[in-house]
């Protein structure tokens, strides 16, 4: 008989699944420490741990005559922090967007934000703006792309998920064409190489200023996104059902997209376009803890940090000259996605 009186609510998700996000965040911290040891100047793991744990706040005035301290805290730390934050933000954004649009092929770039931010960044390079100017213009134009997509979807009338996706495609395509135009117009000796390099994505120019921008945005938008994660379940039921459950579908969808746009714009502005992370990591996370978003988002965040940090470690230590990380994320991402595709095909998408 189906009546089971003594179902223990504590066994609901199993202790392993419940503690997995904590475990992964612990692993992430260890990988961050390990990543600080990588590089030309050797600093042993023990020294790295000691330096990190005794220097607080991170940007404190430290011992500038002490070479290991300078290497760890000034040279490597901004990059490690930036990569970790971006990985977490991208993966969480991707998980949220896949839920909102009920589509596993969706990434955080859905509203044309990446293309918009690229356009801003490239324009700033063409105008010879300083590094922080590039970051600022990329960030601003990423958000402008979202606003344009919003207006376009509203003008089209009915709204709805499909209108959003289409207007994102339109705005993204338009921005990409403008990027192409700027590339052809740019000075091929000086500007074009830096444009191409910037667009390929890299964390090489990490500074504490960039960390501050990304950390500020991620702290606010990421926290809000996490707070709203249960509501993504509701949106994923579809418009009619979510409305009947009392959800303000349009407001929630736009709110979530706005938060994701902030996160993506911040990431693109500091490191160029880093694709595939927001597409693949949510699938990996879903294989571990299931599709329920209160569990999925924290897990995806930790996995995103781990994934991007590992790839960035490879990008900067595999060869003499650094490989742009955007190239690696696609080169590594495509086979992983193919594997996931093969693995989940029999069960159907999303049923991991």
């Amino acid at each position: 008989m189906a009546f089971a009186a003594g179902v223990d609510s504590r066994t609901t998700h199993g202790p392993f699944v419940e503690s997995l996000p904590i475990l992964l965040h612990g692993l992430l911290f260890l990988l961050m420490l390990f990543s600080l040891t990588l590089g030309r100047y050797p600093v042993p793991f023990g020294d790295v741990a000691r330096i990190v744990l005794t220097t607080f706040p991170i940007d404190a005035v430290g011992d500038y005559d002490n070479a290991p301290w300078v290497v760890v805290e000034i040279v490597r730390m901004p990059r490690i922090l930036l990569v970790t934050l971006c990985g977490m933000a991208l993966a969480m954004s991707g998980a949220a967007m896949q839920g909102v649009f009920r589509n596993p092929l969706v990434g955080p770039e859905i509203a044309g934000v990446s293309s918009g931010a690229s356009l801003g960044g490239v324009a700033a390079i063409v105008l010879s703006w300083p590094p922080l100017g590039i970051v600022g213009l990329a960030f601003g134009s990423g958000l402008a792309a979202l606003a344009a997509a919003f207006v376009l979807a509203r003008l089209a009338g009915r709204g709805g998920a499909l209108a959003l996706v289409l207007s994102g495609v339109i705005i993204g395509g338009f921005c990409s064409s403008l990027v192409g135009l700027l590339k052809t117009l740019a000075d091929p000796l000086v500007k074009l190489p830096s444009i191409v390099y910037w667009l390929l994505g890299s964390f090489a120019g990490a500074t504490y200023e960039k960390v501050a921008i990304v950390a500020g945005v991620t702290l606010v938008a990421g926290t809000l996104l996490l707070a709203l994660r249960w509501r993504i379940n509701l949106l994923s039921l579809g418009e009619t059902d979510a409305k009947a459950l009392g959800v303000d579908v349009d407001a929630l969808r736009w709110g979530l997209m706005g938060l994701v746009a902030l996160l993506v714009a911040a990431q693109v502005s500091v490191s160029g376009v880093v694709g595939w992370v927001g597409l693949i990591v949510p699938h990996l996370a879903r294989m571990m803890v299931g599709p329920e978003h209160t569990r999925l988002l924290p897990t995806a965040a930790a996995l995103g940090g781990l994934y991007l940090l590992a790839i960035d470690d490879i990008a900067r230590s595999l060869t003499e000259q650094e490989i742009p990380i955007g190239l690696l994320t696609s080169a590594v991402g495509a086979p992983i996605f193919a594997f996931l595709f093969w693995k989940t095909q029999s069960k159907g998408w999303m049923r991991e």
Partner: protein, 265 residues
């Protein structure tokens, strides 16, 4: 009328201005009763349901809904493989703050509601792995968790085998009898309406709607006018109770036609 849960006055809705899906619709749905909407496809049954749950807004006339509404969609498919418990918990949407996550109390409420429908043992099962009838029961549990007063069902028996049809109909009757809920449902089965609905709305479309007690309105003449096909209302005895049902009349010619349809489909 103080016991009206839902009142429709001259209600109209269109998707595009040339074609009204619903027009001049008048009805009063009484609290604590089962109200069934019957009619061929395209006469506005689902549109009316979507108006009642607030997914659509009336284009003319008025619609007054007194009480919290829960909706049970037809053929429930979910993009993600949530567990039955995750699904039932979503009924708490109005009770959980915008930035909050479900608490242990919400989870306990969802489990208790699943238990009400004999689904507690399936709480951790993927929703997709459940049978159509079991999914309906999970969604009923979700409505209970929402503390809804009005339950709106879109063809609750359409995807179910005979055993599950009987089970679900029995549960719907129990929700009004034991929990005092008001149920509004669409159905393609007049005998289901006769079995559990107190009142029915016959939707001929375009301003022609008939509302009344199911026993009085579900006559052979009315049903023939509604569906354009002959149906028989039959009385019979079962375990000492006198019951009634409605059956379609399939003459040999008709049976031949039915076979042709099956073959071509």
């Amino acid at each position: 009328m103080s016991d009206a849960a839902i009142s429709l006055r001259d209600l109209g809705f269109f998707y595009s201005p040339e074609v009204w899906a619903l027009r001049h619709c008048e009805a009063t749905i009484t609290r604590g009763r089962v109200f069934a909407l019957l009619g061929p496809n395209g006469r506005g049954k689902t549109t009316l349901l979507h108006l009642v749950i607030g997914a659509l807004k009336p284009c003319e006339g008025s619609l007054e809904v007194k009480g919290r509404v829960a909706f049970v969609p037809q053929l429930f498919e979910v993009s993600f493989d949530y567990t039955a418990l995750d699904m039932a918990m979503m009924g708490r949407a109005r009770h959980i703050g915008l930035f909050a996550q479900p608490s242990r109390a919400d989870e306990a409420a969802a489990l208790a509601a699943l238990d009400r429908f004999g689904m507690a043992a399936y709480a951790e099962r993927p929703f997709h792995a459940l049978s159509g009838g079991q999914r309906q029961l999970v969604i009923f549990a979700r409505a209970l968790v929402a503390e809804a007063e009005i339950l709106v069902l879109d063809e609750p028996t359409s995807a179910l085998d005979l055993e599950n049809q009987a089970l679900v109909l029995e549960r719907i009757a129990a929700l009004t009898r034991d929990d005092g809920l008001t149920v509004v449902m669409t159905t393609h089965h007049p005998h289901h309406a006769l079995a559990i609905a107190d009142d029915v709305l016959l939707m001929h479309g375009q301003g022609d709607y008939r509302v009344g007690a199911s026993r009085a309105l579900l006559t052979e003449d009315n049903l023939r006018a509604l569906y354009g096909a002959p149906l028989k209302r039959l009385a019979f005895e079962h375990e000492g109770r006198s019951l009634e049902t409605i059956a379609p009349v399939l003459t040999p010619a008709r049976r031949e036609a039915a076979r042709t349809i099956t073959r071509s489909a």
